[in-house]
Symmetry: C2
Subunit: 361 residues, 2 copies
């Protein structure tokens, strides 16, 4: 499939603001693909280190960059996004773990929020890895203000870094990550602290911690400061999900206490089946279909199509956007699993698009 | 260090009753070390498969085996341990995840319960692995009835399989594994089911599950049947630990809801420090000390010394037991980290032993 670079292939210049674990990885991955990356960080030593390791070509903010990634702690993101919009002519995205506050603070057709669902318990530039996003999901959270070109530019670049794009409204993203990331992290911390407390009474306790416990508590080694910001920014969704978890643990507690083996069997079997069926990193199906649809003359249509795909559970393997020279009207071509093509076509028709589907197998 | 095989090196014959994941791994590991292993299973096809893969030499129960491992589901363990004690002249151990019920059901100087803190989400003989116990902790739960020879025989063999022996009273073991294994498993199941339920509303949810969520829920893929038995057998300790977890999650929930950043910082920092300091698989220190003590003329003295080591957090790297020809009196030699030798010596003196310590570095 041909690649479409809205800003032109001569403009492979990017900024990365914030050179920590994620920003450093983005910079390394872009540089490895031939981009000229300029970078900033609150810590000047880190900028020097990023130049030394080849993550960025120079410190500063390149006004001609076609794309700027803001990868700082969440609380600094809105101001730095606005600054990048003012200082550069290109598109701006961020990688904060909570999306609604950024979306509320920044309304600009050149901004599209994002969140790569990748990382490690490592910390800072030293843990950066050019391969971090390969096969990972990268959520984009376009709003009504986000232009199609902006969405397509960000989606194209993160796809090129090896990530699978999933488009979601910001609030939806925040509710979902509370369940699959934020509350699991708090649960890991609770399990670890509980074990640590009891270890004061018996030194052997932590030596009994086998692989399962290690796996479960690994994320508790993450930066407390980052997590406190996340808890503050995504408060309602986290409180909801914590309530749901406590409720479910209470049900399990009653089932154990009352020896309700049927209840336990149902719960544990459901959990087992769900875990076994958890989708893995992107695996391309043998049978693909190409879905082609004109994008009507209104902003956000491309983003709407990606968001619909996410809602329907349709995995977009690759895509292209063609715009006519005179304006917003264009064609979006998506590559999806052939088995999902009817489902996706139905959804597109229901939303007023006119898709055509071609099976490629 | 010389190896002491209480039953004599000519008697390297063992039984393994129950040829699943753990039993199969024990059989493979023993066979790889030159033992003649005889095995039984409720499923005759599994016995044939174990012979074919070289885990056991033959099916059945060898009456001359110096050691029998009972590795069946927990509910069958007490009867099969008694049967092995009646049918063989050797020592018997088991690998059940809960130890107090077995200890209560079997009072015999030739029995010492055990629990290897190893495994995988794989299931059955196909997942068996001769290297499963290398570097793992193997808890032994001797009681007042267990003779020194029995304890030393089991401890010697599981050490030879690469495991680190930690001796604990059965009830203590059960309380500790509720915290580091059973309740984490239930929490993993609760997180997985909660995510699965919400995924019905939004298909994208499970695609957002990154490495942290995958790590946390991996153990939820375990056999529900085994876990229901564990919940029944370790009910009081599991209910206690679940209450403690729910309580702690409730505190975190309040801290998030009320934006108590100090409380969150304290909790998350403690969890992080504890996770980073979680002891890894056995790593031998450079500076070792040899602790030598006579074992007085009373049963269970060797087990008492190992239990004391576990209580003090002292890691026993290797050990030997010498018995005088005429009876119970003997010498126990333990290899420990030199940095812990004063601590251990203090404990031994307090319990009436007369240790001597020699630094080996």
């Amino acid at each position: 499939m041909d690649r479409n670079t809205p800003a032109g292939s001569e403009a492979r210049r990017a900024n990365v603001v914030g050179l920590g674990l994620i920003g450093g990885s983005v910079a390394l991955a872009l540089s490895a693909r031939g981009w000229t990356v300029t970078g900033e960080d609150a810590d000047p030593d880190r900028v020097d280190a990023a130049v030394l390791m080849g993550a960025i070509a120079a410190g500063g903010l390149d006004p001609d960059a076609s794309l700027t990634f803001v990868a700082t702690p969440a609380s600094a993101v809105p101001d730095l996004v606005k600054q990048a919009l003012a200082s550069t002519s290109g598109v701006v995205t961020d990688v904060a773990s909570v999306k609604a506050p950024v979306a509320a603070a920044v309304t600009d057709e050149r901004f599209c929020g994002g969140h790569p669902m990748a990382g490690s318990e490592l910390d800072g530039l030293d843990g950066a890895d050019a391969a971090m996003f390969e096969g990972a999901v990268w959520v984009l959270t376009p709003t009504a203000a986000t232009s199609d070109t902006t969405f397509a530019t960000v989606a194209r670049v993160v796809s090129d870094l090896g990530a699978e794009v999933v488009a979601l409204p910001p609030e939806r993203h925040d509710a979902l990550v509370a369940v699959v990331s934020h509350v699991p992290h708090l649960a890991a911390a609770a399990l670890m602290t509980m074990a640590d407390e009891r270890a004061e009474e018996h030194a052997a306790l932590l030596r009994l911690a086998a692989g399962g416990f290690r796996d479960m508590t690994r994320i508790a080694a993450g930066q407390p400061g980052l997590w406190i910001d996340i808890c503050a920014e995504n408060r309602p969704a986290i409180v909801d999900a914590l309530d749901a978890l406590v409720d479910r643990l209470g049900q399990l507690r009653r089932a154990v206490a009352d020896d309700e083996r049927d209840v336990l069997l149902t719960e544990l079997t459901r959990a087992r089946d769900a875990r076994i069926n958890l989708p893995g990193r992107v695996a391309q199906s043998a049978d693909m279909a190409e879905v082609r649809t004109t994008i009507p003359d209104r902003p956000g249509a491309a983003a709407e199509i990606f968001t619909l795909a996410a809602e329907l559970g349709v995995n977009v393997t690759d895509f292209e956007v063609y715009h006519s020279a005179e304006g917003q009207r264009g064609v979006l071509i998506l590559l999806i699993d052939a088995a999902q093509s009817d489902l996706f076509r139905g959804g597109l028709l229901a939303r007023g698009f006119r898709p055509s589907v071609r099976h490629l197998s």
